[in-house]
Symmetry: C2
DNA sequence: ACCGCCAACAATGCATACGCAAACGAATTT
DNA sequence: AAATTCGTTTGCGTATGCATTGTTGGCGGT
């Protein structure tokens, strides 16, 4: 069983402001280690390496056509991103996500994302540069009308990641993207099990309006309420679905 | 010029819940890579490797009595923690912290720490296990009376790290510790330049009271106001001090 | 038949070797 | 004199080899 292909595959999700080369513009010669990192991350997010899967360094090296050294470096990075665990004699294990993890992740998002909305609304010209978010909202509304869950999820992701990227705080953005990646599989899993996110879609639009209107507190509180509700929904869905998620 | 010795030297500050061995209880045979990571991190936080310093991998390997391989692994981890930058032909460079970085860091802390206080106050028995925080508050009050800035900073750190460790969300705790480490040098730098933190000390105590009383919203808002004020104070202090912080 | 111990194997962690590319310097030319 | 180009050196990225360590399976004893 494989999930939807990973959609953003962003710049590695590191939390520091300038990991190696932010914005792939200076994209000459991606080193073998970076390649390994990106490809392994894609495999994990796409569920081609399912949670709990164990692979030896040499297996992965063979599979990627590299030697163990760059693979090992990639694994260290993936471990720090919380996607895999390196276990001394059994290679790496893809980190499973349990309901408790989702609770943690949503607590973090519920804290950081409203802050990002607040920061965005507090800028000198709050309405500037919001085209991406507006487009994402529109895409969500269209996907909702077409009952296309996959397109809705993509637009949702575009909205959330766009918001934290625009907020001007790269550390915050990196942290959000990190937990976002960690929960990617779980979101894809629940995508087809929950009712059509009509309410969510409307709430996104209202947050965007508050940002454009330059009302930081209102944007923050709207977003917080949105996140709180949808997070609780998702966690209870996972709990009810009974999967211990390995 | 060296600062105060690094005080917590915690478990590596990784953001994922179980990096290698959380809680050094299973502390047998720290690998060479972990040693390198810890020692380099200590050197950076103690300002023995000052911001902007450039070292070649081979220099560090020689200095630590290791080969390049574990040093390289340590550098990759430190880079993901935002403490150093690996520049292709010039080794690593210790990441300097500018006023803009401090703004980012305080925005993150201002978001996550009040959330931690809220979570703590929301537990079934909010008053349980708060001894550490109470002790830290008392230590701050005593240090304030004795006008011992260094002891105050240590107690402050104990309070903040204790709070996020107790809140039950390891991802959140890891993120806070990460930016806390990034800003360690800056805090030590401003420690002797600002007035005695009498107000801060009292505010910590009030937050703790709100937590123990089981009032999540009040704890969160108190903490937010505290963080907001002290963060703004610190940023303006750094800006006024004129150091571009290299 | 079951439990415990020993030995062999396998994977890792680290050290080292090698090749490439970039940077620095020197020399020559304009 | 300044700039450009070529050569040399140096550091890094990757590969590979080796030793350590943990695991597993088999054998022997009770």
């Amino acid at each position: 069983m494989t999930f939807a292909p990973v959609c953003h595959l962003d710049q590695g999700g590191a939390v520091n402001p300038a990991p190696t080369s932010r914005h792939a513009e200076t994209s000459r010669a991606p080193s073998a280690a970076e390649q390994a990192h990106g490809r392994l991350k894609a495999l994990i997010l796409d569920n081609a390496l399912p949670p709990g899967a164990q692979r030896l360094e040499s297996e992965l090296a063979l599979q990627l056509g590299l030697s163990r050294t760059p693979v090992r470096e990639a694994l260290v990075r993936l471990q720090q991103e919380g996607l895999v665990e390196i276990t001394p004699r059994h290679g790496m294990r893809v980190q499973p996500i349990a309901a408790a993890d989702m609770r943690e992740i949503y607590e973090v998002l519920n804290s950081l994302e409203p802050t990002a909305a607040e920061l965005l609304a507090r800028r000198a010209d709050p309405a500037a540069g919001l085209e991406r978010l507006d487009a994402a909202c529109t895409a969500m509304e269209q996907a909702l009308a077409a009952q296309d869950r996959r397109a809705w999820a993509a637009a949702d992701e575009a909205f959330h990641l766009g918001l934290v990227e625009l907020c001007g705080n790269r550390r915050l953005a990196g942290m959000v993207m990190q937990v976002w990646d960690q929960s990617h599989r779980a979101r894809m899993f629940t995508l087809h099990q929950r009712p059509l996110p009509a309410r969510s879609t409307a709430e996104h639009r209202r947050v965007l309006d508050a940002i454009a209107a330059g009302e930081p507190e209102r944007a923050r509180d709207l977003y917080r309420r949105h996140r709180h509700r949808s997070g609780a929904e998702l966690v209870s869905l996972i709990e009810r679905s009974g999967v211990a998620w390995l």
